[in-house]
């Protein structure tokens, strides 16, 4: 599975978001390279992978979010066919950290990468049925074509990156 699915994910992301493949040991280096400072973020749920001791404020005030250049959030699942990552809206500041800064970085575990929309929705269906939770499927940056041509970064980031933890 792993390589095929990741390759599908990678092709789907061409033109929409930058993919940074990494491992738990190299994670810190990858994040440091990927973010534009100042950066804000949410705590990550992955084992032995953390934003602590990185230049990412994981307890940001709303002012800090407003003036940040990058927001970092965990993704609960990814969809290989589409280059999609999901954000769980269970965190107070999840929406703002992912929308307000100009660049958004999602951190995804390879084991959470689903092959297609059907698989992803079935998983979300169970989660939602059980928890009555809310989620956003994010594919690429915010955009509009209302002005005749594609413009990025309307009420959301203009730039999107995904950090894929291959050993998680």
């Amino acid at each position: 599975m792993a390589t095929d699915r990741i390759e599908t994910f990678e092709s789907a992301l061409v033109g929409t978001a930058d993919l940074h493949r990494t491992t738990s040991t190299e994670f810190r280096e990858t994040i440091a390279e990927t973010i534009d400072r100042p950066a804000v973020g949410l705590p990550l749920p992955f084992e032995d992978v953390s934003l602590a001791d990185l230049p990412v404020d994981i307890n940001p005030t709303t002012d800090a979010i407003e003036s940040a250049a990058t927001g970092v959030t965990p993704a609960s699942l990814g969809i290989a066919d589409y280059g999609t990552v999901t954000l769980d809206l269970s965190d107070d500041l999840g929406d703002l950290v992912s929308l307000l800064p100009r660049k958004h970085v999602s951190v995804l575990a390879a084991s959470d990468l689903e092959p297609d929309m059907g698989a992803a929705l079935r998983r979300l269906d169970s989660t939602i049925a059980e928890n009555r939770s809310s989620h956003v499927l994010e594919t690429g940056p915010s955009s509009t074509a209302d002005l005749g041509t594609m413009v990025r970064g309307v009420h959301g980031p203009a730039e999107k990156a995904i950090v894929l933890l291959e050993d998680r």
């Binding site: 703002l96 929308l99 929705l121 939602i128 009555r132 509009t144 309307v154 959301g156």
Partner: protein
């Protein structure tokens, strides 16, 4: 509005908005076609989507009950509104209940339908649109002109002018999309911060969990719900689906069909009330989670009545993707301000306006639908949009009591339901043509004379600038009557003498006979007949049905004998294969549909592997031939069959991209639509350029292209040994 006024209105719209509309629509269609072609499971997903919607609408009362319990258990409230006035009252009361004065709104066509903004403003509540396109039309005080891109009728220049005028920025804005977006973003963000209540629509509502799905690109809907503590979602009852998992085919199709993206930037699946405190920017206190409120306003406003109508129910499956507007050749010329009613725009608007606002709002839309059917393969839920518009035209035509014509018609047989002499004339074209063909020279002279043209324009509102087709010297069946049957044919077929072939272009019938006989095909020719296509276009369904029954009856002996019915005119072939399944459903129609063949398909079959036949056909030229397929023919698949037949005979074939010639049977002759038809035809004219000869499948298209000073031939004529 008089026909002259309508013509003037359309002319103005085309000149002011036409360029922006066409270039935006064409960008969308190119992207959409690409996105759809890249999806191998496209047809399968359409089937799934259609099936889910059919079931959901069928089970609607149960789904409503289910979503009520689910939302209630989540801590929110469901309100059922029977009509616009009730919906607006509910929304007002929720807002007042929160002591709120300002609302931030993300785009919702349902709220446009209900005129929510207007109702709230009358109650002293400020409403700010946050979707970029809606923000623009709100500032411009215009109506949205498209389901998905409300400002698609405006150029970047006009938007810059608008912003400069309304906001008077220190440095005037240029017509540069990125800068304009940045400016709008700041304005909108400020308004979202100031708002107390957020109103959104809902693309889909999952009944099981009370989850609403919002399909967006900008992020404004997310900010609106994150930053306000009261969320009101307004949705028509038809948005309900059973579960979140059921969203799958819709999510995979909606962005491809509508805007050419694989998926929009954001698909929000909210199961409100969301459990987080609102986030307050700039020193305000965030609201505690249990103070957040969620209200789902489910709206009827005519939908339940649509559900009871055997034809209009199909419109409820619509997911508001906008594809039927983008791909429509007429919409590309005139946009949604013309091809729209009170709220809705594009092909599907005919049924929707009739259902929620009343037939008087649907009439213009239904009339602008030419039946070309190019929207049909593009609808993600397989709605037969042209059929819906034919139904609406028919429903509109039930005579209005008291008009002078109505009084005249009272005396006539009931199938003559119409409200215009022109419709009557067109629907009985066969009888008129029969009379005229007794003296074709006289008839031709009459319609082409100045007096004749004046009479046609004044009495029948037929545009004098578009020459009518010329009556041939001799009818096709008269010529046929003198021909020898083929001795010893391999197979026997029925060649259907459609009206165009019979009265106006018998040479295509003659070529068909010669080619088919050369290929060993024996031919029988029944009496010429009208399939009812014209009556259906004129909103005379009963008349169309009568013709259909007549034709089924006349062809019965041939169908029983197992003979294929071969068509030269794609609009008639499409009629018996598609529309007849609605007009005269049943085993007879199915037999006819199965037996009906496009003439070039038969030719391809006969040529396949038959080397001797190849020698008896004319030598193909060196250069390739350009073929312009018929619009309805494209939908039923004549294109590849025409190409196969010609290629089999050694020709090289190019196919035009332009999907409609504008004439659409009788549409282009009508004085109020002649200029629209011309605008559509111009696209084809530019594509054909300086071609000397074009192979043209359909009679109307041949007539149009003839007018470009290009020689036209039905594809069958290209293979005629005698030409």
């Amino acid at each position: 509005m008089t026909r002259r006024d309508r013509a003037a209105e359309l002319r103005t719209i085309m000149s002011e908005e036409g360029d922006a509309i066409r270039s935006n629509a064409q960008a969308l269609t190119a992207l959409s076609q690409y996105a759809v072609d890249s999806l191998p499971r496209y047809e399968q997903l359409r089937e799934e989507a259609r099936s889910i919607k059919e079931d959901a609408i069928d089970q609607l009362p149960a789904l409503i009950e289910q979503v009520e319990s689910a939302v209630d258990a989540n801590g929110g409230t469901v309100h059922l509104a029977e009509d616009a006035s009730e919906a607006n009252q509910i929304i007002r009361e929720v807002i007042r209940g929160r002591d709120a004065a300002t609302v931030a709104k993300s785009k919702s066509m349902t709220t446009e339908e209900l005129e929510v903004n207007h109702a709230l403003e009358r109650a002293g509540i400020d409403v700010w649109e946050t979707d970029l396109g809606e923000f623009i039309v709100q500032e411009a005080d215009e109506a949205p002109s498209h389901l998905v891109g409300p400002a698609m009728h405006k150029s970047a220049e006009s938007i810059a002018d608008l912003f400069n005028e309304r906001f008077d920025p220190a440095n005037p804005l240029e017509a540069e999309p990125n800068k304009l977006t940045e400016f709008a973003r700041e304005q909108v963000k400020r308004r979202i911060h100031e708002a107390d209540v957020g109103i959104t629509g809902a693309n889909f509502v999952a009944a099981e969990t009370g989850t609403i799905a919002l399909v967006t690109n900008e992020g404004n809907a997310r900010l609106t719900t994150a930053l306000t503590d009261t969320h009101i979602a307004v949705a028509g009852v038809e948005k309900l689906l059973p579960t979140v998992a059921d969203l799958q085919p819709f999510l995979e199709l909606i962005a491809r069909a509508g805007v050419g993206q694989d998926l929009t930037s954001y698909v929000s699946l909210f199961t409100p009330p969301v459990e987080t405190p609102t986030v307050a920017i700039q020193e305000e206190e965030p609201t505690e989670p249990d103070e957040r409120e969620f209200h789902l306003v489910l709206v009827d406003n005519g939908r339940f009545e649509m559900r009871e109508d055997d034809d209009l129910v199909e419109a409820l499956y619509c997911i508001r993707c906008g594809a039927c507007a983008n791909f429509c050749p007429t919409f590309q010329s005139v946009g949604g301000h013309a091809f729209g009613g009170k709220t809705y725009t594009g092909g599907i608007a005919g049924a929707w306006e009739a259902g929620v606002h009343g037939h008087e709002h649907a009439e213009d839309v239904a009339d602008l639908c030419t039946g070309c059917s190019r929207c049909v393969p593009r609808c993600p839920v397989k709605i037969d949009i042209p059929w819906l518009n034919a139904v609406v035209r028919d429903q509109v035509n039930q005579p209005t009591a008291g008009s002078p014509l109505d009084q005249l018609l009272e005396a006539l047989p009931p199938e003559l339901e119409t409200s215009s002499p022109r419709s009557l004339a067109l629907a009985h074209l066969d009888s008129l043509a029969e009379a005229a063909s007794q003296a074709p020279d006289l008839a031709n002279w009459a319609v082409q004379s100045e007096t004749g043209k004046w009479a046609l324009e004044t009495v029948l509102n037929i545009d004098s600038r578009h020459p009518l087709p010329t009556f041939a010297d001799e009818r096709f069946t008269e010529w046929w009557g003198r021909q020898e049957p083929l001795p010893d044919p391999d197979i026997e077929v029925v060649l259907f003498p459609d009206l165009f072939t019979e009265f106006f272009r018998p040479e295509r019938g003659k070529s068909a006979v010669r080619v088919l006989q050369t290929l060993g095909v024996g031919i029988q020719v029944p009496d010429p007949a009208d399939t009812g296509r014209i009556a259906l276009s004129e909103g005379m369904q009963a008349q169309a049905r009568k013709r259909a029954r007549g034709l089924l009856s006349a062809l019965e002996p041939h169908l029983e004998g197992g003979r294929p019915i071969v068509f030269l005119e794609p609009s008639d072939l499409a009629m018996v294969q598609r529309e007849y399944s609605r007009l005269v459903p049943g085993p007879d129609q199915e037999t006819l549909a199965a037996a009906s063949r496009w003439v070039m398909a038969l030719v391809a079959e006969r040529l396949d592997g038959n080397e001797t036949a190849h020698e008896e056909l004319p030598t193909p030229p060196e250069e390739s031939i350009t073929i312009h397929p018929h619009c309805q023919g494209r939908t039923i698949g004549t294109v590849s069959l025409t190409a196969s037949a010609l290629e089999e005979a050694g020709w090289r074939v190019e196919i035009t991209d332009t999907e409609c010639c504008g004439m659409a049977g009788s549409f282009g002759y009508k004085s109020e639509y002649a200029e629209v038809a011309d605008d559509v035809a111009d696209q084809l004219r530019s594509e054909i350029g300086t071609e000397q000869r074009v192979g043209v499948e359909g009679g109307s298209c041949a007539h149009v292209i003839d007018g470009f000073d290009t020689a036209v031939s039905h594809p069958i004529r290209l293979l005629d040994p005698e030409s």
